[in-house]
């Protein structure tokens, strides 16, 4: 872009394009509105996914508890939908009044998709009302399947709405390369703008992320109800609900880094400087914070499982292994959190003897980090596997062989991860990048095949005793709260990374931000904004849950024995 155009744009902008928001400024106002809207949106898109999955398990597994669980999840959605819409409206009003020129540019390209978005949101809302209020009416036989179909439809509408909104923000990040500052927005074909470089990676990343987020919030809700429960039956119900929510959150979390890797690769392919800004430029410290948060997630998630094994007869067989899993997780977290290349002052450079620390620098590279995170994922999967088979003894004749094959798969997957991790130090970067695919492939294959074998081995298994749902110490529930807060904060942090790499551009290298807020703030300021947004969001969610409790009693039914509830996936 020519200097002259930028200057002319700046001159025009100062006249009409921007307004300021009192006290906190327009950037902070937009930040808060966008982020809280996004948090609610993630919640109302993530929860229906596993509500409908839970309902399907209830139908086809003939287990009413899952059906009631799905209904209770859905009840939480009703008010959350209104909050999502309200914050969405706040965002649109703020954008159109504070950043009117930029908003006009976006609407010139995406106007039609915005109309479709509104129409779909309308349809989605009414599908939700039909889904929830029709729950007891369409409860049996074919009508129950129709009801399940409504749930699927709800997810289709919601996912489409998200895909549309994603196209706007990904266009801002990675507009097609043939579009220049001189291109008139009205001449840009809508579909061409939608199909930009990062649209589909963001779609997939958010889809998975929403499930993680929804699971975490629901498990936090369940843990609150657990702590507030007055009877053992109620406690057992919410213990189980918290477990299911956490199971879904952690399961989706395991595949989230792979989607994130794809997104990162697309960003690099689109524009190296954008990728470098993200990973090695002024945002480099952000990844150390991210590593810390992920470590908290892995540790808290595993801790919850290990504590949960205390309520499973037979789990004591596996307790000695947990300390080794903890060792792998802690070491993995330390490696993942090791900085590599970052902006350092002269004293720091002098102290390190160069741009990298002589010893720790070797752990800061992607070879080490990919190895660490893959081993952490394997360890977490092993934790879950031990939890899952804690109270059963397999009776199939090939049980011992099957267990040995499972152990072999873990060893082979870990060996592949380590082999490519070490080999990555001796090859060119372009080759090294390809190695992460082998590492990820080995871990995913291990997870899939070990699970398959485990399910087959569990057929007709002898029970060592029913799970004592509700027999959980309160500290396990606080771990779920920490998980929910950390997931929410992490979402805010990664949103800052995604948005911040545009730096001083509304639309990357096409439309420059010429306000006094154009500089991308440092991480400290971003952290204060993120914490503020998380606090507002969680306060509103708590209020919504309280309202939900006022409006209707929980779906907990004490007549059903809680100890019969199976593991997820059984």
């Amino acid at each position: 872009m020519t200097d002259g155009l930028l200057v002319l744009q700046a001159a025009a902008d100062t006249a009409t394009a921007y307004r300021d928001f009192p006290v906190i400024g327009s950037r902070a106002a937009i930040w808060i509105a966008a982020e809280i809207h996004l948090m609610f949106a993630a919640f109302v898109l993530g929860v229906p996914i596993f509500a409908v999955v839970a309902e399907a398990i209830g139908i086809f597994g003939k287990d009413q508890r899952y059906d009631r669980l799905a209904k209770e999840f859905t009840r939480l959605l009703l008010i959350a939908y209104s909050a999502t819409a309200i914050w969405g409206a706040v965002l649109v009003f703020l954008l159109s009044t504070l950043y009117s020129k930029f908003w006009a540019y976006l609407t010139a390209i995406f106007g039609v998709s915005m109309w479709v978005y509104v129409a779909l949101f309308f349809v989605e809302s009414f599908t939700l009302y039909l889904y929830y209020y029709g729950w007891d009416r369409w409860k049996y036989g074919r009508s129950k399947l129709v009801h399940l179909g409504l749930g699927i439809l709800l997810n289709i509408w919601g996912t489409t709405v998200m895909f549309i909104a994603d196209s706007w923000l990904t266009y801002m990040m990675t507009p097609p390369r043939d579009i220049t500052p001189e291109t008139s927005p009205t001449s840009i074909k809508l579909w061409h703008a939608i199909l930009n470089h990062t649209w589909m990676p963001i779609n997939i990343h958010r889809l998975i992320g929403n499930v993680v987020f929804g699971g975490a919030i629901v498990s936090a809700y369940a843990s609150y109800r657990f702590l507030a429960a007055r009877t053992d039956e109620e406690r057992a119900h919410y213990d189980w609900m918290g477990y299911v929510g956490n199971f879904i959150a952690i399961s989706a979390l395991i595949v989230l880094p792979f989607a994130g890797y794809w997104l990162g690769r697309e960003i690099y392919q689109y524009d190296q400087s954008m990728g470098i800004t993200m990973m090695g430029g002024f945002m480099s410290w952000l990844w150390v914070i991210q590593a810390f948060l992920i470590a908290v997630l892995f540790l808290a998630g595993n801790y919850y499982l290990w504590v949960g094994m205390g309520r499973i007869p037979g789990a004591e067989r596996y307790r000695p292994y947990t300390k080794w899993l903890l060792v792998v997780l802690v070491l993995g977290a330390l490696v993942w959190g090791t900085p590599h290349t970052m902006i350092a002052d002269s004293r720091e450079l002098a102290a390190m003897g160069g741009s990298h620390h002589p010893l720790l620098g070797a752990l800061g590279v992607m070879s080490a980090k990919n190895t660490a995170v893959n081993l952490m994922i394997l360890s977490t999967f092993l934790s879950f596997l031990l939890y899952r088979r804690a109270n059963i003894r397999q009776v199939v004749p090939w049980a011992k062989t099957g267990t040995r094959i499972q152990a072999g798969m873990f060893v082979i997957a870990a060996a592949i991860v380590l082999f490519f991790g070490i080999r990555g130090y001796f090859v060119e970067a372009i080759v090294r990048i390809g190695y992460s695919v082998y590492q990820v492939g080995a871990v995913l294959a291990c997870i899939i095949f070990v699970t398959l074998i485990d399910v087959l081995m569990a057929r007709g298994a002898q029970s060592l005793g029913a799970i004592q749902w509700g027999k959980m110490p309160p500290r396990s529930q606080y771990a779920l709260f920490i998980l929910a807060v950390t997931f929410t904060w992490l979402m805010g942090l990664m949103g800052f990374a995604r948005s911040g790499i545009r730096q001083h551009w509304h639309v990357w290298q096409i439309m420059q931000d010429t306000t006094k807020y154009a500089a991308t703030p440092a991480l400290g300021y971003a952290a204060i904004m993120i914490s503020t947004c998380v606090l507002i969001f969680l306060s509103l969610v708590a209020f919504i849950f309280w309202l939900g409790g006022l409006a209707e009693k929980s779906t907990f039914v004490p007549a059903v024995s809680p100890v019969e509830a199976p593991h997820v996936g059984d």
């Binding site: 002024f282 450079l349 952290a527």
Partner: protein, 267 residues
């Protein structure tokens, strides 16, 4: 139940406070906006070098790769025994002088990828103006070669608004902050915060000026602004020569004195 509620609130607030605290304890780096340059027709090589220096170490984003020894060749220090970029740029391509080589490397980086490195450099013409590109060329030439970029190489900036948007990279006395004697306006206009930190603002690659008045007298502060290399703070020896030596030409007398008094008052 109240005890449980309070415990939950305490955990939520505690976790938020912990994350916020950690994020505020690490080095704070802000991504600055590259300032538009308005270089006059009688711009001097020193002014170009100064402007290029600010871009290189600041909003140009060059230091994210160059100088680390892994992602991209060192430019300001020795690269595999060949010296800094100025010492080798004229020999890289037969028949191409240093100036032409550097300019083409900026606008079309894939044309000359140094062996052992990947073609990861972005086309700088997409983010920087021709004036900024030529300022960078001048700065890179100053690393061991003769600066031969002149006003005739640089296309004029467009429009009268250019003057209003100009930075301290070029022009004569009073060009910084439009001649304002507001010390913080001068500091921002001159790009000091790209390297120095004052209070909560600024970078960390040059001495922190928050309490500079307790370390240096007014006379020494004045000397450090006009002749930056005469006194080098301990721990910053590697950065000798990085601070522009052109502030004596770019600040008015009133600006210089306002700046000196302002810094001296920071005890």
């Amino acid at each position: 139940m109240w005890a449980t509620n309070l415990r939950i609130i305490g955990i939520v607030l505690g976790v938020l406070a912990l994350y916020t605290l950690i994020a505020n304890k690490i080095p704070q780096v802000q991504s600055e906006v590259p300032k538009a340059l308005n270089l006059s027709s009688n711009v001097t090589p020193e002014q170009l070098v100064s402007a290029g220096d600010q871009l290189f170490h600041g909003a140009g984003g060059c230091t994210a790769c160059h100088g680390l020894g892994t992602r991209a060749p060192n430019l300001l220090t020795d690269e595999k025994g060949l010296g800094p970029i100025g010492a080798r740029c004229g020999k890289r391509e037969p028949g191409k002088d240093c100036k032409a080589y550097l300019y083409e490397s900026l606008i079309n980086p894939r044309a000359y990828v140094v062996a052992g490195y990947e073609p990861i450099m972005p086309e700088m013409g997409r983010t920087l103006s021709p004036q900024q590109l030529w300022a960078l060329v001048a700065f890179l030439e100053s690393q061991g070669a003769t600066v031969d970029v002149s006003a005739s190489d640089i296309p004029p900036a467009a429009g009268p608004a250019a003057a209003a948007a100009s930075s301290g990279g070029g022009g004569g006395p009073g060009k910084i902050a439009d001649g304002s004697t507001d010390p913080m306006a001068i500091i921002r206009g001159a790009g000091c915060l790209g390297c120095h930190k004052i209070g909560t603002e600024g970078g960390a690659i040059a001495p922190n000026l928050t309490h500079v008045g307790s370390r240096l007298s007014q006379a020494l502060i004045r000397e450090c602004i006009l002749k930056p290399d005469t006194r080098v703070s301990k721990g910053y020896e590697k950065f000798v020569g990085v601070m522009p030596k052109t502030f004596g030409n770019m600040l008015t007398g009133a600006q210089l004195e306002a700046l000196v008094q302002f810094l001296a008052s920071h005890k």
